[in-house]
Amino acid sequence: MGNKRVVADSSRCIGCQTCMAACIEAHDIPGNIAAPRLRVTRTYEISAPVACHHCEDAPCAKACPTGALFFDPKNHRIGVNEDNCIGCKSCVMACPFGAVSVATTQVPVLMGDVRVGSQTKSFVLKCDLCVDRPGGPACAEACPTKGLTLVDEERLAELTAERARATIENEA
């Protein structure tokens, strides 16, 4: 079974960034970082959010030296384990879509329960398909023009069949 991904439809996107806001809100939980995992990109003609493609042979997961990005066949995605991220930016360089970025935050250094200082912690920011969210990806739910769809293998097969049908109809 292949990976799932959120597909953006540039003909429907109005560039309102509601998906980014929904993404921030969905990840605004302790132990995570409130930053968008997808980014609305505009040219003069079109706009569309760019999110992780969850590549089957993901270059980001291959480049990661610490397993912060990993192949997660159980959830049909490229998984993210922020705790392991050291912020080396190898994934950022490897991704051909510009869908991965790295952010930093200050975390407390504890000695027992006493805070003795703070240190810089890096977080890899990449779509995690909101696997812990019951309603599925927050961005797809929030999009006012229904421009974002979670595409799985089944949907992809339907799409392929539909296009094949369109092809023979055009040829006839």
Binding site: I86, G87, M93, F97, T149
Partner: protein
């Protein structure tokens, strides 16, 4: 975001000019004169490897004397404070930091003019009598406002300084390319049409 040196292996010809420039630049500053880039060659490819200046640098985290610090947009080793414990070299997943030391061979009254101990296979196991060991890694030539000497020296322009504005530009270019090459078919409409059809067939049935 920290800056770092990015290598394009397709351009690298494995000439070692970056290493020479690195060693020379640091020697002139009175720092360890060993090259801070590792030139890695396999049967098919060659590339120089340098510090990634990780945002949450594991080398800085394990350093027991805080000789490795976050300094603006880079990770900096204070060579004078390093105690040579080699923990950073063990923690780094890239092999971009290594212990090195200045040989005192030939210093008057100190040692034989030529070292008589065998050279170790691993720099982690190197030890020489009287030699002060310290950690050495890319410092982005922060002492020179003109930037890293390896980048300027590379004859094939295989090295570039990434991070900061350059990185954001590259990411934006990648994103623009991916929306311009995005699906030309209305995926959502097709999907909705299919589900409406499915609902219709259920209702009709």
């Amino acid at each position: 975001m920290n800056r770092f040196i990015d290598i394009n292996p397709e351009r690298c010809i494995g000439c070692g000019t970056c290493q020479s420039a690195c060693a020379d630049a640091h020697r002139m500053q009175g720092l360890q004169d060993t090259p801070r880039l590792a030139l890695v060659k396999t049967g098919g490819i060659s590339a120089a490897l340098a510090c990634h200046h990780c945002e949450g640098a594991p080398c800085a985290e394990v350093c027991p004397v805080n000789a490795i610090e976050h300094d603006g947009d880079r990770i900096h080793v204070k060579e004078q404070e390093c105690i040579g414990c080699r923990l950073c070299a063990i923690a780094c997943p890239f092999g971009a930091i290594h212990p090195d030391g200045t040989s005192i061979a030939g210093v008057a009254g100190m040692c034989d003019p030529t070292p008589s101990y065998p050279k170790s296979l691993s720099s982690l196991l190197t030890w020489a009598p009287g030699q002060y060991t310290c950690a050495v890694k890319c410092d982005l030539c922060a002492f020179d406002p003109e930037g890293p000497h390896c980048v300027a020296a590379c004859p094939t322009k295989a090295l570039t300084v990434m991070g900061g504005a350059a990185d954001r530009e590259l990411d934006e270019a990648k994103r623009l390319r991916s929306i311009e090459n995005g699906p030309s078919v209305d995926v959502t409409a097709v999907a909705q049409g299919l589900s409406e059809k499915a609902e219709g067939s259920v209702n009709n049935g």
